[in-house]
């Protein structure tokens, strides 16, 4: 199944041809960043959704916006897509101010919203064609392009179906295919793989890689840390409308976490009381590269450069955890460290 899917992907030629980037480059300097935001702020009444963030995305880069729900990711995406006016600050997308030239900016964008907003009054194929018509693309081009994109989304057999009859995954694929109709320079993906099954997720990642290779700039928000690690060259962690950290996935892990993590379970009652004791045991020892301990209700997370060594020390001290697990630090550790473990809502 998965093989078939990737085969189908390989046959596609969604990459802009050599001529296209050249004409784009002449329109605006190819050296300018794809997106540049300075002190970007958005307020809704008393509520500050985005609080003076500054970032820049270079052309051809895959840039991730990470953060818990309500952190201001989607609002930022909306401002990039020129559908939300900023309260203050400056913004520049493909060399244009989205507030002044919304349509021109959006002509260069492909937008994949968090929630599929397909046109339920049209068929699957009409959804793609009509979307292209909104860009003013000629019908002749769209008829061919629609077939190609339907193939890409593996929806060719559903071309005449009503959107209503599609499954959730199919709808998502159609939304993604539709956003590629104008071969965008910058693709905005708001939680692109939410609701997709693992197969479809890998297919999409594969597609996004190809788009990136062909020079498309990707900006995505996601809750899946593995996705961010897989796709993003660079990412920012946003919380409460401000940027908490910025860097490459590997860089962020280096900066905000230890190389390894030791997960220990001593039973619900003893975890907390043992934490202090463990800190004393490991704190004196440089070989383990101990940093700190995080106490969770069900387990202890021991952050250490050499987790195996740390575990030996603990055993040597006569402590017998019920279970222990040594693993590499992940982006998830960084994320939870930076944004906290409590629910935000």
């Amino acid at each position: 199944m998965t093989d078939d899917v990737s085969m189908a992907m390989c046959k596609l030629s969604l990459m802009p041809t050599a001529a296209a980037p050249a004409t784009r480059a002449s329109a605006d300097s190819s050296l300018s960043p794809a997106i540049e935001a300075v002190d970007l702020t958005k307020r809704y009444g008393d509520f500050t959704a985005v609080d003076g963030i500054t970032f820049s995305v270079t052309r051809g880069e895959a840039f991730g916006l990470l953060g818990p729900n309500g952190a201001g990711k989607s609002t930022t995406m909306r401002m990039i897509a020129a559908v939300a006016a900023r309260t203050s600050g400056q913004m520049n997308v493909a060399g244009l101010d989205p507030e002044v030239e919304g349509p021109r900016v959006r002509a260069r964008l492909g937008v994949i919203p968090q929630q599929d907003n397909l046109d339920e009054e049209l068929t699957v194929r009409e959804n793609i064609i009509m979307y292209g018509r909104y860009f003013g693309l000629p019908r002749r081009y769209l008829l061919a392009k629609a077939d190609e994109l339907l193939d890409f989304a593996q929806l060719s057999h559903k071309a005449s179906a009503r959107v209503e009859d599609l499954s959730g995954g199919m709808k998502r694929r159609l939304t993604i295919a539709r956003a590629l109709v104008n071969e965008p320079e910058i693709l905005l993906l708001d939680e692109p793989t939410t609701g997709l099954d693992p197969q479809a997720r890998h297919v999409l990642w594969d597609r996004l890689f190809r788009l990136k290779e062909s020079g498309t700039t990707l900006v995505l928000t996601t809750h899946h840390m593995d996705e961010a690690e897989q796709l993003c060259d660079r990412l920012v962690v946003v919380d409460h409308g401000t940027i908490m950290a910025e860097g490459s996935p590997a860089g962020l892990i280096r900066e905000h976490s230890t190389r390894e993590v030791l997960e220990l379970r001593f039973g619900m009652d003893r975890n907390a009381e043992l934490a202090e004791h463990l800190e004393k045991i490991l704190g004196d020892d440089d070989a383990a590269g101990f940093s700190h301990i995080e106490v969770l209700p069900d387990r202890l997370l021991v952050y250490a450069g050499q987790a195996e060594t740390a575990l030996e020390r603990i055993h040597a001290a006569g402590l017998k955890p019920m279970t222990s697990l040594v693993r590499r630090s992940s982006l998830e550790d960084v994320f939870l460290r930076l944004t906290g473990r409590s629910l935000i809502d």
Binding site: A20, A85, P113, D119, M130, G136, R140, A144, E164
Partner: protein, 587 residues
């Protein structure tokens, strides 16, 4: 283990059993409570319209049309002392029955599809039959409240006097259920609502209302049309109401027949609704049906075949450049109104064509009902040149103006709001290079297109019946578009301030009196000068008068005033809408 369980009087499992048993008894009431709570959001509108509607009908039909009818008809034979008294019970029954068309359609679709509320309820101990009954009971409460307030107002105006009239609360509610439950049964079988509610409204409810002897005795109509009345729950509820309100002389068997008919319809369709709910919410996988799905598939196959034949396009040089205009209003307008218009046409084509055609039916029905039903009571209406015109010829131009207004308002408010908040179509459009102005203007064109087709249909009927001459008809068609443009502009501006659906109901409360008073069904001269000035301030009166000026070929300075009025409306509406455009499409 067993001993500990026995020693506890109520184990968690037993508590749950007790709860389930209680739900078994009172589940429908719980569901009714939930439905009423969500109705409370528009409780203010319900209450206000219950007070407002009777007053409007008393002032417009009872007094206004009453003056026109004058001595032309004597209602003492029916037991009523005046025209007002004669219509009062029927207006009560009709308004209840017509609100059934809303309460038993959209909330049901909401329950099954839009918000899937019924599935939430189904996950509890409630049974599908209880969910169905709960909804019906909640609507009953709404009918009862409406009736009580309505009757209180009628008493206050002296439109009813007998204490027995209070019992109309029940006859009207029964009529409302008899009208609404069969519709609910039908709607519950639908997988998706594609204008079915509108079709029911236009093809079933409207005729049942207009030919139910509400504003005149049913016997005024030709025998063929009386048959509609016999079927209509509204007629039966009307007649019951008249017996109760002023003792209209009716044989006992006929009274029993009225009550029996309504009861039978209610009982049978209530059971039917429950059965459909059981099937749909039961364990069987059943998602409802889509009428016309086969026809859709066939048509789509034809379209596909055509496109495949035409689509010999070989992609060679990648995506063509996306052209976006720059310069003035670059942030608002991309120069691609056509795409928005085309999308509208595609949607119309994909929807049931009958909805589209049916738009002109409403004025035709009104014309038939009032033209045939009221005419026997009126000798004619005084024309400007001193002569008289027939009542049908008098109301025909007005109905065209009203239909232009209704269509434009519906498109620019309800439809725009729906696409904005529910289907999020504009959000989709706004993620392309389209600007808000492309969308707004495209939608207005679409509204005019629709209005133009409706107008054509109605004018065709007027021409066929000889109520207008061809030249007037042509001018009236353009005027209808002009009127529609005025209302669509203002409607778009108003929608930009709307936040919730309930606010739409408030708007309806302005439209209804405008329809009733703006010299549509009787000349405004029946009112004192002060009232006339108020009516003349409203746009519909100018539209109606403009249409009449053309229909009767009677132009004057007032004609220019009417035209200017609409020019101002277009200008103001467009300006406000453009100014609020960002609020509307870009949050």
């Amino acid at each position: 283990m067993t001993s500990t369980q026995a020693s506890l009087t109520t184990s968690p499992a037993q508590q749950k059993d007790a709860l389930a048993a209680r739900t078994g008894l009172r589940g429908a009431l719980y569901q009714a409570e939930a439905t009423l709570r969500s109705m409370r959001a528009y409780g203010g509108v319900v209450l206000a319209s219950s007070i407002f509607q009777p007053i409007m009908y008393i002032l417009a039909m009872g007094l206004g049309l009453g003056v026109l009818i004058g001595d032309g008809a004597d209602f003492s034979a029916y037991g009523a002392q005046s025209y007002l008294m004669y219509i009062a019970p029927a207006v009560l029954a009709s308004t209840v029955a017509m609100s059934a068309g809303i309460e038993f359609t959209f909330p049901v679709m909401e329950g099954f599809k839009w918000r899937r509320k019924y599935y939430g309820a189904q996950a509890t101990a409630l049974t599908p039959a209880q969910i169905a009954s709960g909804h019906i009971l909640a609507v009953c409460v709404r009918f009862l409240v409406h009736s009580v307030v309505f009757i209180a107002v009628l008493y206050a105006f002296g439109a009813i006097t007998s204490p027995l009239a209070v019992l109309q609360i029940f006859s009207a509610t029964l009529g409302g259920l008899a009208m609404g439950l069969p519709i609910m049964a039908y709607i519950s079988t639908l997988r998706e609502e594609k204008g079915h509610a509108a079709i029911i409204q236009r093809f079933i409810m409207m005729p049942l209302f207009l030919f139910s002897g509400t504003f005149y005795p049913l016997t005024n109509l030709p025998a063929a049309l009386q048959v509609i009345g016999w079927i209509s729950p509204i007629w039966h509820a009307n007649e019951l109401g008249r017996v109760l309100a002023f003792g209209q002389p009716t044989p006992l068997w006929l009274t029993a027949l009225h009550a029996g008919y309504l009861l039978a319809v209610v009982v049978i369709s209530w059971r039917l609704v429950q059965r459909i709910f059981i099937r749909r919410l039961g364990y069987e996988e059943w998602r409802g049906r889509t009428p016309g799905a086969k026809a859709d598939a066939k048509r789509q196959a034809r379209v596909d075949a055509k496109e495949t034949a035409a689509g010999a396009y070989r992609r060679a040089e990648g995506v063509p450049p996306v052209r976006v205009r720059s310069g003035l209003l670059a942030s608002m307008y991309s120069g691609n109104i056509r795409a928005v218009f085309q999308r509208g046409l595609s949607a119309i084509r994909n929807n049931r064509g009958v909805i589209f055609i049916s738009g002109f039916l409403e004025p035709v029905l009104f014309l038939t009902s009032f033209g045939l039903g009221i005419s026997p009571m009126i000798s004619g209406v005084e024309a400007a040149d001193g002569g008289t015109v027939s009542y049908a010829a008098f109301i025909a131009p007005a109905l065209l103006a009203v239909s232009a207004m209704n269509g434009a308002i519906f498109d620019s408010t309800w439809n725009v709001f729906f696409k904005l908040k529910i289907t999020k179509l504009y959000q989709t459009m706004m993620s392309t290079s389209l600007g808000p102005l492309d969308v707004a203007v495209g939608e207005i064109f679409l509204a005019l297109f629709r209005g133009g087709i409706y107008g054509l249909g109605f004018l065709g009927v007027l021409l066929a019946t000889g109520l207008v001459d061809p030249l007037s008809a042509l001018l009236m068609w353009f005027t209808a578009l002009f009127i529609a443009l005025g209302f669509a502009s203002v409607g778009m501006a108003v929608t930009s301030f709307m936040k919730r659906f309930q606010q739409m109901d408030w708007m309806m409360m302005i439209l209804m009196p405008m329809f009733l008073f703006s010299a549509t069904l009787f000349p405004i001269e029946v009112y004192p000068q002060g009232v006339q000035w108020i009516i003349q301030a409203f746009p519909l009166w100018h539209g109606v008068e403009l249409m009449r000026d053309i229909a009767f070929w009677d132009f004057g300075t007032m004609t220019l005033v009417h035209i200017s009025y609409y020019l101002v409306m277009v200008a103001v509406g467009m300006t406000v809408a453009a100014y609020r455009m960002k609020k509307l499409f870009l949050r």
